[in-house]
Symmetry: C2
C-alpha cells in the first residue's frame, strides 16, 4: 500500500487484541483503544502506533474504526455518547462493528452514522481468540459496497473468511445471532447429556469418547465437555456471555413473532446457572444446574 492506512481498534479483549495484532502484522498503522492499561501496554509492545483510553485525539487521522467491545450499549456510548467519537471522524471514515449486537441496534447505528457521513459495516465475528490472533476470524458482514471497499485492508488483515450476507446492516448480526442460537443450545444439551450420564452411572470419559466419534457430536460438545471431565470451570467464555447472546436470540425472535422452543429453554438453563452464582464461570458450568449428581472436581450437588 503506498499511503498508510490508519485504523483504531477499540476494545482490546481476547478478540480485539488478536484483531489489532493482525492489523499490525498486515502493515496497517494501528492504534489500540482500551480502558485497561495492561491491555494497552501489551499492544504498545506489539508495535502499535499509539495506545490510549479514548480515540478522539486520533479522529481526524483515521481511515477506519474497528469495535470489538462487549455489547451494543458500549458501542453506542463510544460512538454516539456525550463524548462520542463519531462526530469527530472525517466523513467517509468506515466503522466496522464486530461486537455481537442485535440486528435492530446494528440497523439504527448505521442510520445514525450515515447522518454523520460515515460508512458502517455490520460485521460480527466468530472463531475465538486463537483465530483472532492468527488473522483468521470468520466475519459475517452486511453493509453498502462502499463500506466493504473502504474496510478491505482491515478485512484482509483480520479475516480468514468474509461472508457478504447482504447490503442492509442488521443482516450480519442476524446471521451471527442464529449461529449463537446453535452454539448456546449445543453447550446446554452437552451439559444435559453428560449430567444424565453421570446420574445413570456411566463413565463420563467413556461417554465423551463415544459421542465425539459418532453422529451425536457437535463442535461445542467436543470443545467444552473436557472442562467438565477435569472439573475446570475457569472461564474461557462465561455463562453470562450466553445469557446475553441467547437474550439477543430471544429479542430477534420476538421482533419476528417467531417461536424458538429450544433456544428459549437453553436461555433459561443459562439464566438458572447465572442466578445460582455461576455467571462468571465457564459456560460449561451450565451443567451445575443439574442436582443430585457427582461431577469430577465437585461435591455432590444437592
Amino acid at each position: 500500500m503506498s499511503t498508510p492506512f490508519h485504523v483504531a481498534v477499540i476494545g482490546l479483549g481476547a478478540m480485539g487484541m488478536g484483531a489489532a495484532r493482525s492489523c499490525l502484522r498486515a502493515g496497517l498503522t494501528t492504534y489500540g483503544i482500551d480502558l485497561s492499561e495492561s491491555a494497552r501496554s501489551q499492544l504498545q509492545q506489539a508495535g502499535a502506533a499509539a495506545v490510549m483510553a479514548d480515540a478522539r485525539p486520533l479522529a481526524e487521522t483515521l481511515d477506519a474504526v474497528l469495535l470489538l467491545v462487549v455489547n451494543a450499549a458500549q458501542v453506542r456510548r463510544i460512538l454516539l455518547g456525550e463524548e462520542g467519537l463519531a462526530r469527530h471522524l472525517k466523513p467517509g471514515t468506515a466503522v466496522m462493528i464486530s461486537s455481537t449486537i442485535s440486528a435492530a441496534d446494528a440497523a439504527s447505528l448505521a442510520g445514525e452514522l450515515a447522518q454523520l457521513g460515515l460508512l458502517m459495516l455490520d460485521a460480527p465475528v466468530s472463531g475465538g481468540a486463537i483465530k483472532a490472533d492468527a488473522g483468521e476470524m470468520t466475519v459475517m458482514a452486511a453493509g453498502a459496497e462502499a463500506a466493504f471497499d473502504k474496510l478491505a485492508p482491515v478485512l484482509d488483515a483480520v479475516a480468514g473468511r468474509v461472508y457478504r450476507v447482504g447490503s442492509d446492516p442488521g443482516q450480519g448480526s442476524t446471521v451471527k445471532i442464529i449461529h449463537q442460537l446453535l452454539a448456546g443450545v449445543h453447550i446446554a444439551v452437552a451439559a444435559e447429556a453428560m449430567a444424565l450420564a453421570s446420574k445413570a452411572g456411566i463413565s463420563l470419559d467413556l461417554m465423551y469418547d463415544v459421542v465425539t466419534h459418532a453422529a451425536g457430536n457437535s463442535w461445542m460438545f467436543e470443545n467444552r465437555m473436557p472442562r467438565v471431565l477435569t472439573g475446570d470451570y475457569q472461564a474461557r467464555s462465561a455463562v453470562d456471555i450466553f445469557v446475553k447472546d441467547l437474550n439477543l436470540v430471544a429479542d430477534t425472535a420476538r421482533a419476528l413473532h417467531f417461536p424458538l422452543p429450544l433456544a428459549s429453554t437453553a436461555l433459561n438453563m443459562f439464566l438458572a446457572a447465572s442466578n445460582a452464582g455461576h455467571g462468571h464461570e465457564d459456560d460449561s458450568a451450565v451443567i451445575k444446574t443439574f442436582s443430585g449428581i457427582q461431577l469430577p472436581g465437585q461435591e455432590e450437588r444437592s
Copy 2:
C-alpha cells in the same frame, strides 16, 4: 478360524443388511432372517448360507444371533414369544441385541435369556448404513466377559470400534440412548435455527455455509440440513424414529427421576411433526412444524 462360526442376523434393514454382509466378508457362516422376501434374496445373492423368515430351524446350528430389528417389542417377540427362538438355542449360544431399546428392557431380556443358559450382549450400534456395510459400526456394549468372548468373531466383523461400557446389560443401551438425546436435539435445533433464518430473510445456503465453518456446527446440522436446502424429505431416517428414541430418552430420565429440559422439548417437536403427518418423512422434516416461512421446494407454510 478352523471351525466355522455360525451366526444368524435377524432384521435385514439398512443396518442389519450391512452387518450381515460384513459377517459374510469376514468368513462367518451367515444366515439372514427377515420377513421381507426382497431383503432375503438380496442377502442370498451376497453369499448367505441360507435365508429364511424364521430362524428356529437353524437354532441348534448357531453359535450366535445378532438382532437388528426395530424395537424392544420385536426383540421380545422373536426371542421369547410364543414361537420364540431362545428356547431352541443351545446353552452357551450368544445373543447380541443391537436394536435401540431401553436399559430396563435390555436388563430384563438378559435375565430371561440367562435362565435359558444363553449369553447376552446389550450392544446397540451407531454409524449409519454406510458404516454398517463397511463393517465399521460403533458398538456400545455391556455384558459378561463370556458374552464378549463368544461374540468376538461377530464384533470383529461388524465393528470399527467397540466400547466396553460395563458388565451389566442395560449400560450399553443407556450410552446409546444418551447419544440419541444429543442427536435428536441437534436435528431439532438445526431445524429451529434454519427456520429462524428463513423467517429473517437470510439465505439458507449462506447460513449453512457459515455454521458448517464455525463453532455452531454439529454432525447432524451438517448431515441433515442439505435436505432442507434441496427440499428433499424422502426418509433416510424418519421423524418417527426420533419419536421412538426420544421416548426412550424420556423413559430413562423418568426411571432416574431426572429432568431433561432440552430433550423433552425436542421430543415434543418431533411429536408435533409426526402428528402433522410427517412421521414417515426424513427426520429433517421436523422443520415443517414452523409456520409462516418459505422453505425450498415447499409452499409457504401457514
